[in-house]
């Protein structure tokens, strides 16, 4: 009996090499991406990609329903599909304060594969091309003067309607907001020292220059100059010392990180 089991080894060895599947540079493999999805993402985003995994019921902020191709964190203009690099940025950073973890411990191939796979849940990716990303001019630098100007921009664009005068997410409209999927949604508390996705100042900039698709958070790209937008970033950063700390950590990460 034991000898015979030993003889099975070559049979297994043959089977083993059926496992490898090569990935073309740049784009991921949908086939492998499905396995990545099943291993890491399925419990929240669901087998059908509808955001209704076994864990979703208990979550206040629901996992993304991928079927509409609606993604909040993009560098592309309002209404556009995201770039693959936008989705990768989300996977590398996670979404702070939600159940969506960071996936930077995975290898880049796995991330690319799963991105290719989640795109298959929405027919839009087959028929539409993402638009060109918005241009983000370099950060002119944090200063008290910029913060003061940013305070005025915050008032001018009536951000406080939702985010409240102090940015704590308690504006007059805050309690009646719904997202595109019909779930109640609260304006993010800007005094936490984090936005959900990313710790660089460009991550804050793109939020109001592209809008968060599927949520009441609009884009201001049509009416706001980039100088105003940077002042607004600095105003938000002045709301908590956490921003500067997290930004420095993110910069150190980029220097040493193998993957970003």
């Amino acid at each position: 009996m034991f000898y015979r089991v030993g003889q099975l080894i070559p049979v297994f060895a043959g089977l083993l090499f059926a496992a490898g599947s090569a990935t073309a540079a740049g784009t991921g493999s949908v086939k492998t991406g499905k396995l990545v999805y099943e291993r890491y993402c399925l419990s929240c985003h669901g087998a059908e990609g509808n955001g209704q995994g076994e864990a979703a019921e208990y979550m206040a902020v629901k996992p993304r329903d991928y079927r509409q191709g609606t993604y909040k964190w993009r560098t592309t203009p309002s209404g556009s599909l995201p770039l693959d690099s936008d989705l990768e940025h989300t996977l590398l950073n996670g979404l702070h304060g939600t159940y969506m973890p960071t996936w930077r411990a995975l290898d880049q191939r796995s991330r690319r594969d799963v991105i290719s796979y989640i795109k298959t849940f929405s027919p839009r990716f087959a028929t539409e091309k993402p638009q060109d990303p918005i241009v983000i001019p370099p950060d002119p630098g944090y200063s008290d003067a910029s913060v003061a100007r940013g305070t005025a921009v915050y008032k001018k664009y009536n951000c406080s309607q939702c985010h409240g005068p102090g940015g704590q997410g308690d504006g007059p409209s805050a309690h009646e907001l719904k997202d595109d999927w019909g779930n109640a949604i609260v304006p993010y508390d800007l005094t936490k020292g984090h936005v959900k996705c990313g710790d660089q100042s460009t991550d804050i900039y793109r939020v109001f220059m592209t809008g968060l698709a599927g949520t009441p958070m609009p884009t201001f790209a049509d009416s706001m100059s980039s100088a105003d937008a940077w002042d607004l970033v600095h105003f938000i950063q002045s709301l908590s010392p956490g921003y500067a700390k997290n930004m420095m950590a993110a910069a150190a990460d980029r220097k040493t990180g193998a993957t970003q």
């Binding site: 030993g6 496992a19 864990a55």
Partner: protein
């Protein structure tokens, strides 16, 4: 093997259907984390309980994902950091060349063994301070002991991942964990082997795979692709010396992972490791019996070596090969006056874990080949190959169900060990085992 022999094995196999509770060596996968973070066990485990890259990074980070949902206050109110692990199984083991009053015999025994469980308690106490406590036992003998208990301080200096400190009783940072491995019927020979004098004693009971009490310093880069671990501990099972540490011992491990964005190899790892475990060899006595804590003349068991890991195919469903080589030496005085010289040996293993790329990753197939070759027998007159060993294991695990709360799997395994000259009358001894179990953790 004869037809009658196979029939007997078949009958043993049939017994598997009558499952009551038995416990084989404890292994940890911690569904309390799955519950807390709403992840399936596959997120952290390549093939549970073996950790993958995400799991290794999570552990290195003090069981934190660091996105504001780690500590007890921000975690879901329903979360309670406890999980139970049980592996009811049937095992049959046959050992050749055993001495009996009726002469040299092959003895076999099997059954569904005595029940025992692991309570896995782990979590984050406050940001950057985490813990693990594992009471093990609860079998019919009523004994319970703490297999592990430690607190871990992450990012001790200025938000750097390069200095984290663990204190308590913990597993060394081994080239392959002996608490989170797939094999159940045998252990890594390299970790536990000692050169021996036939029929003689060895004061050193050092087992690399056994948890030790002490302090560990761990450092790693952001993604845990370069890591080190250094521990200082009091060797387990020692009577104790009069030093500050009862048997001051050291272990170190350094490893680096390399990733490839193209080609059949997705990841490669290289590592070096070494251990020096000291045991006192002279004692004050009382009525002839050594007085604990009075030992002196420390003598060492040293082990050092290197490892290489290779992941073929996609990392998510890889063929993972792990090759570990080590050299060991037990000093002459550890043999309590019975040896002519120090005992030395070389050993290692090649382990393979394959996760077939099937839907939902239900399967894992694993195997290992262990080798021990003595270099210098402590007794010059002993046969040069005395207690040289070869061992192989082959197994399969099928996870019936994964969820964010529990997992349950069927586990089947065969293994065989052959040791030179340790049987009755200096004959070789062979130990064959077969095991079927239901592995579940909730």
């Amino acid at each position: 093997m004869t037809g009658k022999g196979s029939l007997r094995v078949m009958l043993q196999v049939a017994l598997f259907a009558v499952v009551t509770f038995v416990f084989v060596s404890p292994a940890s996968a911690i569904p309390a984390f799955a519950r807390k973070y709403s992840l399936r066990c596959t997120a952290c485990h390549e093939a549970w309980p073996v950790l993958n890259d995400f799991g290794r990074n999570f552990r290195d980070n003090g069981y934190q994902l660091r996105l504001g949902k780690d500590d007890t206050v921000t975690a879901e109110p329903g979360y309670w950091p406890v999980a139970v692990h049980v592996l009811p199984s049937y095992t049959y083991t046959k050992v050749t060349n055993q001495p009996t009053d009726q002469g040299t015999k092959t003895l076999g025994s099997g059954g569904v063994g005595d029940a025992s469980i692991d309570l896995l308690m782990a979590g984050v106490l406050t940001p950057n301070i985490s813990f693990l406590v594992v009471p093990t036992g609860f079998a019919s003998d009523g004994n319970v002991h703490l297999e592990s208990y430690w607190a871990y301080f992450s990012r001790v200096i200025k938000n750097s991942d390069w200095l984290n400190i663990r204190i308590g009783q913990f597993e060394m940072d081994l080239p392959a964990s002996s608490h989170r491995n797939l094999e159940m019927t045998d252990s890594y020979l390299l970790y536990s082997y000692h050169p021996s004098v036939p029929g003689g004693a060895n004061i050193s009971a050092y087992d690399m795979g056994e948890n030790q009490r002490g302090i560990e310093i761990v450092g790693h880069d952001r993604d845990s692709l370069t890591r080190y671990a250094i521990s200082v501990f009091s060797a387990h099972d020692s009577l104790g010396s009069s030093n500050g540490l009862s048997s001051p011992s050291f272990y170190g491990h350094l490893q680096k992972y390399f990733r490839f964005n193209e080609g059949p190899v997705s990841q490669f790892e290289l590592g070096v490791w070494g251990a020096l475990a000291n045991y006192p060899t002279q004692f004050l006595t009382s009525g002839g019996t050594p007085i604990p804590g009075s030992g002196s003349h420390l003598q060492s068991s040293t082990r050092y070596g290197m490892e290489a890991n290779l992941w073929l195919g996609p990392l998510v469903a890889p063929l993972h090969l792990d090759l570990v080589y080590g050299h060991g030496k037990d000093k002459q005085d550890l043999f309590a006056g019975t040896a002519d010289r120090a005992g030395t040996f070389n050993g290692g293993f090649l382990e393979a874990i394959w996760v077939p790329p099937t839907d939902l990753l239900h399967w894992s197939v694993f195997g290992r080949y262990d080798v021990i070759r003595n270099q210098n027998q402590p007794l010059i007159a002993a046969p040069a190959n005395f207690n040289d060993q070869n061992q192989w294991t082959l197994g399969m695990k099928y996870t019936i169900a994964y969820s964010i709360r529990d997992e349950v799997a069927l586990h089947a395994e065969v293994s065989s060990n052959k040791a030179k000259g340790v049987g009755d009358g200096g004959l070789d001894q062979r130990t064959d085992s077969i095991m079927f179990g239901v592995d579940f953790v909730y």
